[in-house]
Symmetry: D2
């Protein structure tokens, strides 16, 4: 059972805390939040403060930290984590490039995973879209994302899909409709067939499942900087290897003499 | 440009003939059909007859043969193909096991590909479903296929998806509705998110695109028996290899001396 | 502003309370719940008890009551409501026939609305499906409902749709998948086109919006027993009337003499 | 059995001819086309020419004419139709206003129906969207249309839906993808639920089914200018009337004396 500390206790953080709390693979040991106010769960809460965070970690040791707070927090806890070799999964989107560089540098000393879209489903969507794009580069591609009325900007996930598929931003459509939690659809138009890959978010707790998956996989990695894409790739590569081993026995190499011998002239 | 002969000129065969005829990568040289009646395209037509088929091939040589006829035809042309090392793509579904054995045996002497679902989209659906199943074995899976009112049995494609995902037949739903050409949906239900993979057939010509892809890939294979799944796997494996090469430089291996040197004790 | 009392404070009741509390058309005055424990909202809470409920109503008068509790509650509050002419919206599904008779009888003395599917969207789905069925009786119909893994029985809404469309229960498909809140799809298959009507529930709060709509409409009705279907019908009839008035001026009736006079022979 | 003449024999016209030919309610008597070349069906073909069209009609009398040609044709056959009181269903989109005026004027002398979207499904979509918009004016609305890659402009149907719903053109999204025949989706976003109305075209023959429905309904109308919207409205009004008659007996009007008598004080 991995001991976990959670940083950030906003809407996403609260949902993640609930998932981790109920997952038998993890022990959620504490929560660090800006206000330091008590959490709904009966778990110690601290304020995130770079001066005292090392002491907190020594008194409340964990194997890994999951960050759902904001782009600034990592500067508060980064050195403490680095020195203690604690695993880090950060699910923050929108890090400035300099901060990303800092996080990559943490990967020189401990196992770090950074992903702005930590759900399994979205990462699968990214990967399988990429595969289909590779198989069928001639197909037309459109990305449609639907979210609640007040979401201001184009979804970061949709932008990431466009990037991965190397399609222009013009091919992203953003619809704002009532209370839709989050729907992403990638459509591939072929001359005589259509393929649709759709991801519907039901609740923020999906971040928790994704973070748990990421932490579990990260625990099997070497020290370094990782992404969820890459961890999924590894799982799939294993799958393909296995599939390859299940395919029929190696084909007979073309050999005119053998052929001549086996067949009637 | 590959020279192609087409066997079978029913509804699917006619659609495939049109696609091959318009594809600059191929020259459709002749059509073999039961009736021997002229085709709509201005192309020689012959009757399929085992006694004379070898002579036909010698007079009208091709690099590959595509079969959209029926389960019996392969016995008429198999030996002629085997002896001449002609490539074979057969898109027949429902071969008896003995016939499949015969076709696999043809793979000892020439390049053979057999696939009951020759469209690119369906084969992608199979593969990506399999990947998601592997990543998330805990997700619920349902397969829903929708076809025109008169389609009698459960779609072979849906059965194949169930087989590949190792889910029970109970999880296939077959709906018969008006004139739907063919829709397959695989739904993965997670606790807090849902993934839907949907394939819509628009027209039978999709078989032609798939057969063309299969023939083009087969031309790069060694002698042997192949499936479209496996050819796609190869494409994807290359993709993943390339992706792996694009990931950040290899992580620094954990090394306590290095770490001791770089960090304050 | 209508004064409202809410009966029932389970998951649905809590969601409804939140919606009513935030809706400027209503004042949520109190909640009656089995346990009598305080609610999350700062509102008086009472226990539902037939002996004392009349006194509670006199001390805490309301214009209408909304019931999201269970099939038994109406017997506790029914007579108190009847005697005071308080409006009643009950959103309970599964009433025994005798209880339904009792509720219909309340309609002799006050305005009552009973609907097992109180959301606007579902009631629209019912009505528009019925219209399409009437226009195109030859189309094939299938109903597909998808809910969270643990929902035990076929959705009552799906059964109601089948009833309204007069299609056999065989044409309902129930899929259980992860954490889907609730999805109902009615598919109409025509020979050359397909129509899909889809309702996705996002959160239980949808019940609150529906109850608010029902209460607002009920306030305009006469004393009697009503259903949400019927209230929507009224809205639509007004719409159609208006549409009819917008259509071009009345056509000239065929009249051979007029025609002879106007046209060249 | 209604005798029908068809004007126009392009892609849509050919599909419609096939449907009418197979429908036992109609006898397709002849086809008028620009080229005058023979049709695939064994039916007389004429060239459309205003000088001789009256004679053609007298020699080949019909009850109704269906026009799937172009915006100019009506000027060739209009007067001949007017003088003989022949019913007219025209399915042309994009008539200039002056031509529409001319067609409306034909309605002074005979039964005329004009509809740019003659399919049943699309007209149902228009009507039911309008109803939902009326019931729930606060819901967000988006219209998404998907068509084959080469379709140049925004679909006329999507523009018509926007017009009917009184939403801005900004809320139409047009996606161009491979060979999609035609898909229209109207999405209504509520705070806690989403409603999707989807129409998928499978083949052009859908125009034939719609034209047959329109002609059959038109035969029951009085002389005048009609639209398919309006004919559907009539069907629905009948439906609602019937539904109203099925609702429970009229509610008892509130009456304090009656109430006093029936209830304990």
């Amino acid at each position: 059972m991995l001991k976990i500390g959670l940083i950030g206790y906003g809407k996403a953080g609260q949902a993640v805390a609930g998932v981790l709390h109920d997952d038998p693979r993890f022990e959620l040991c504490w929560i660090a939040r800006r206000s330091g106010a008590p959490a709904e769960l009966d778990i110690p809460v601290t304020t995130l403060d770079s001066a005292s965070f090392g002491d907190w970690l020594d008194a409340n040791p964990v194997d890994g930290i999951i960050d759902f707070s904001d782009v600034d927090s990592v500067h508060q806890y980064g050195e403490a984590v680095r020195q203690r070799g604690i695993m880090l999964v950060t699910a923050i989107s929108g890090y400035p490039e300099a901060t990303l560089d800092y996080i990559r540098d943490l990967g020189r000393n401990t196992r770090v995973l950074s992903s702005p879209n930590i759900t399994l489903g979205i990462n699968f969507l990214l990967l399988s879209s990429k595969i289909l794009r590779r198989i069928a580069p001639f197909a037309d591609v459109e990305i449609v994302e639907q979210h609640f009325r007040d979401k201001p900007e184009i979804s970061g996930t949709a932008r990431r899909i466009a990037e991965v598929l190397d399609v222009d931003r013009d091919h992203i459509t953003s619809l704002r409709l009532g209370g839709i939690v989050g729907r992403h659809e990638v459509i591939f138009g072929f001359p005589y067939q259509t393929v649709r890959l759709i991801h519907d978010s039901i609740r923020r707790e999906a971040f928790g499942t994704g973070a748990a998956f990421a932490m579990e996989q990260l625990a099997r990695c070497e020290i370094g900087f990782h992404t969820l894409d890459e961890l999924l790739l590894r799982v799939i590569r294993d799958e393909l290897q296995e599939a390859a081993e299940l395919t029929p026995p190696p084909a007979v190499r073309r050999d005119s003499s053998a052929r001549a011998g086996r067949l009637p002239a």
